[in-house]
Amino acid sequence: MLDTAITTILDVDKVSQVFSTGSGEARAPVLSDVSMRMRTGEIVALLGRSGSGKSTLLRIISGLTRPTEGTVKIEGEPVDGPAKEVAMVFQSFALFPWLDVLDNVEIGPRSNGVPLDETRKRALKAIDTIGLDGFESAYPKELSGGMRQRVGFARALVMQPKILLMDEPFSALDVLTAETLRTDLLDLWQEGRMPIKAILMVTHNIEEAVLMADRILVLSSNPGRIASEIPVTIPHPRDRLDPGFRDLVEKIYALMTQRPDPTKPATREAAAAVGLGLALPRVSTNSLAGMLEEIAAPPYDGKADLPHLADSLQLEIDELFPLGETLQLLRLAEFEEGDIKLTPLGRRFVDMDVDQRKKALGDQVLAHVPLASHIKRVLDERPTHRAPATRFREELEDYMSEDYAERTLRAIINLGRYGELFAYDENSQTFSYENPQ
């Protein structure tokens, strides 16, 4: 008992988050019943796609957002408001553009009443640790992305937090810069040169999670919940080409593209996900066709390994998964154990000309996306053959958050336009059958 109290640095207990709309009505939850723990000396990665609530969870842990339900404790102390024990590194760097590097690093301690000379000592040490010597008087505008994020790290370290929170810290950087920063950070961590006890990072990059974390928590989407927990036991320094590393990456890809187990009893969400409540990601029809063509062509010849495909198309899982899932939904391709495989229709689609493709995709959308057939039915029933978008938006919001509803509506407009199922007028926000003749 005493033992766990010492080593458990973070305890997230049954946290749920529901964002209410302007009118105070509760909507579909963003996070649902999330519990997790972190031990001292651990790097934990929260892996999930955009909209899985992973950034929200990070903000709840930092105390920036109050959860609707559940509690967060850091070293046994409940978090109530922005916590002193954590510091955050942002995806967008979030540096004050009007302050130079030194001022940006010093602003935290100075605002919290640390004496000036003590602040200066700590700031210079952090700047030195993170490799920013010589840039003290530069303004963020003058720095490259990598250097800016180093300022972001220094600014967090100078607060001497117990837990370092990182919100996709490398995703705004180019590949080379990101890799340098990752290894630098890992080196500092391994050598114990950072005054922190644990790191919690949010990412949508599977390889990044496997490279850095001791434990990976995979979040599912809509609503966000912890789907699985994967310990990473590969010793540091980890090599991306190491077979063990590859296997684990492959395994996580398979896990994240797995279809819901049909033997499990259907939950409310699962029931919704087959009707109108099916949330659609916003994908371009050009990308869908491009992906089908890529999978059909050598070396894949109709069946592609997801990590390889992600590599060769230069796509993050945030882009790859929505494409793959849309293809799967439309029965043009399907996931299989970390691979993606074309269906017979998918193979035929690749050889079609533009008009045939539009027809085929339109048919598939109508057959497999309940929202599309719903819109068409409403248009058919109405004497004017017109219907306002708000009608469908409100229906969608019964099942999902406002953002998801908007994205789904956008997606169906895009697919409907491409398949020539219906027209949509942006000015009047109405669906109709009227295309310019």
């Binding site: 209410s20 302007g22 009118s23 105070g24 903000r59 930092s62 105390g63 920036l64 957002t65 109050r66 408001g81 922005p82 002193k84 954590v86 510091a87 955050m88 942002f90 995806q91 967008s92 979030a94 004050f96 553009p97 009007w98 602003i107 935290g108 100075r110 605002s111 919290n112 009443g113 303004y139 505008k141 003058e142 607060m159 000015n427």
Partner: protein, 573 residues
């Protein structure tokens, strides 16, 4: 029900909050007017005007006027920092403050001059202090609203990640204000301050020399000088006043605003280094001086320490908008109080007008306001037809644009009063119809807003679109309607909205023109207000201003706002 009231504040159509704001403003004016009647202290009799047309007096007058303008500017900044901050931080305050500000921004402030003048004169009877304060207040009313609005909008759009950093580091309200919110709002605030300074001249001229009933004020200043020159019909004095104004504007632009703009470039939140860097020789000079920098270093360090004081704002200001559900009961009570006060205010205003004026009078003023509306619409159309093609031509030529844009901004500062001599002479010489020909005066000062905004829009037109238009040989009518007009629309509308508001204000001056002993009048609500002001006939002033405010507000909401919203949504590149 109450939520619909609460969230309606940002929609374009007039709503209940506007009515409430409207009533509140008019009630305050009525209260002032009543207090004027109530205080029966004799006002100073109209004495010999102390203003001399001697050229050598002009530098002194210019100094007095400039000081007045800066005093008003300081007041505007204080107002901005408090009012806009309160509106941005407190949801309940926001419900009232923003509609009020919105109305204040669009009503013709010049019409209120008579009220404020009497109010301040009564505060300091028999003392020039009252007159000075009245003038400063008049200038303040022309400067403050758009500054406050800009600041409020900046506060509402502080980037989320920077806000999270500030909260994550547990900055107090005071610290966050000075470390994040004020710097972020700086570029917009500075731009609006410059525009305000320009617009202030119109009010200086109107406020320094004013007659309300038996009271005549003539404070030493450029405005009084122009008024006196108009009275005397002295052409060369008018010329001297123009020259003086030009020099003063150039001086404060070069010595104050340019350096501030160049310095404030660092507050812009953008990731890349912008191409055109503002520079200022004054700022460079200051940066190069050694002593000045040495001397100012401790001051700056002290200011920085002050900005880092960890004072917490009172809880009422820290009411969080996101996390906690607002109490509906409190909201309901608050809204009921506001409605009650507004209803009482409206009743007060109506009953005040009703004591002396009949419904016929209201009908007459309605017709007069309609004339002025017609005048504004026609003249805006004419100004658009003339200036848009010219401005586009200039804007597409970067060298020209660079030279002309500041000149147009400069011209916008010159008040219409400078043209009175020319207008009266022409009208009398050719026996012109005043209802038609005086109309041109109302866009004299305001057309420049259309010019420099349109130039800005055309200059920002992307080069690839220009090349595409040329490549596909899109010319003539089609080029205007499908390429250029959509591209400049958001910019043009920004200018046109300012110009339209300014024109309503100008009508109070421009429909009632005096030169030597001639008075030339155009039928309209502007001349109605001007005449009533001269006679000190307060019920008529209230009626005229209320009617004009109503027209302007509706015109803005139903026409300009809709157009602007459309342009922002569809045409912003």
């Amino acid at each position: 029900m109450f939520n619909s009231i609460a969230s309606a504040g940002r929609r374009a159509l007039p709503n209940q909050w506007d009515l409430i704001a409207f009533a509140a403003i008019l009630a305050i004016l009525t209260a002032i007017a009543k207090s004027y009647h109530g205080i029966s202290a004799p006002l100073p009799a109209p004495s010999e005007s102390p203003i001399s047309l001697d050229y050598w007096q002009l530098p002194y007058y210019a100094l007095r006027t400039t000081l007045r303008m800066f005093a008003a500017l300081v007041a505007s900044l204080i107002f901005t920092f408090t009012y806009a901050t309160l509106a941005a931080k407190s949801r309940r305050a926001e419900m009232i403050l923003i509609p009020v500000l919105d109305i204040l921004q669009s009503v013709p402030i010049l019409g209120f001059l008579s009220f404020t003048v009497t109010f301040f004169l009564n505060l300091f009877p028999g003392n020039t202090m009252g007159a000075e304060l009245a003038a400063i207040f008049a200038i303040f009313t022309s400067q403050a609203w758009n500054m406050a609005f800009s600041f409020y909008q900046s506060l509402r759009t502080v980037p989320r990640d920077l806000d999270e950093v500030a909260r994550g580091f547990r900055l107090s309200g005071w610290q966050k204000f000075w470390q994040l919110e004020a710097p972020f709002a700086m570029p917009g605030l500075i731009w609006n301050t410059m525009m305000s300074m320009s617009g202030g001249w119109f009010f200086v001229v109107a406020a320094e020399a004013i007659t309300v009933g038996d009271t005549t004020i003539a404070l030493p200043g450029v405005g009084s000088y122009i008024a006196k020159a108009n009275d005397a019909g002295d052409w060369s004095a008018i010329g001297a006043a123009v020259l003086t104004m030009g020099i003063v504007i150039l001086l404060y632009d070069q010595l104050l605003f340019r350096p501030i703009v160049a310095w404030a470039a660092k507050f812009r939140v953008e990731l890349s280094v912008s191409e055109d860097v503002e520079s200022s020789w004054v700022l460079n000079l200051i940066k190069r001086t050694h002593w000045l920098r040495l001397g100012s270093a401790p001051v700056l360090a002290a200011l920085r320490s002050i900005s880092l004081w960890s004072v917490r704002f009172p809880t009422i200001l820290r009411a969080q908008k996101t996390s906690e559900q607002p109490s509906r009961l409190l909201d309901a009570i608050w809204i009921l109080i506001v409605i009650a006060v507004a209803a009482w205010a409206a009743w007060l205003t109506i009953s005040y007008i009703a004591t002396e004026l009949s419904w016929d009078e209201v009908g007459r003023v309605f017709v007069l306001t309609f004339y002025t509306l017609l005048r504004v619409i026609v003249l805006m159309l004419l100004a658009t037809l003339v200036w848009v093609p010219i401005s586009v031509w200039i804007g597409l030529r970067p060298r020209w644009a660079e030279a002309v844009q500041p000149i147009a901004q400069f011209l916008a500062a010159f008040p219409v009063n400078l043209l009175f001599g020319a207008a009266v002479s022409l009208v009398l010489a050719y026996n012109l119809n005043t209802n038609i020909w005086l109309s041109f005066l109302i866009v004299f000062g305001t057309q420049w807003y259309i010019v420099f905004n349109t130039i800005g829009g055309a200059a920002a037109f992307p080069n690839d679109l220009r090349e595409a238009a040329a490549n596909f040989r899109i010319r003539g009518w089609r080029w205007w309607t499908q390429v250029m007009i959509p591209a400049i629309a958001p910019y043009y509308l920004t200018g046109a909205i300012t110009a339209s508001g300014g024109s309503w204000n100008a009508s109070i001056v421009a429909e009632y023109v005096k030169w030597k002993d001639h008075t030339v009048v155009a039928q309209g609500v502007g001349s109605y207000i001007a005449e009533a002001t001269e006679k000190g006939d307060f019920p008529r002033i209230v009626l005229g201003v209320a009617m004009m405010s109503l027209f302007v507000t509706l015109f803005n909401r139903l026409f300009w706002r809709q157009l602007y919203a459309y342009a922002e949504r569809r045409l912003r590149l």
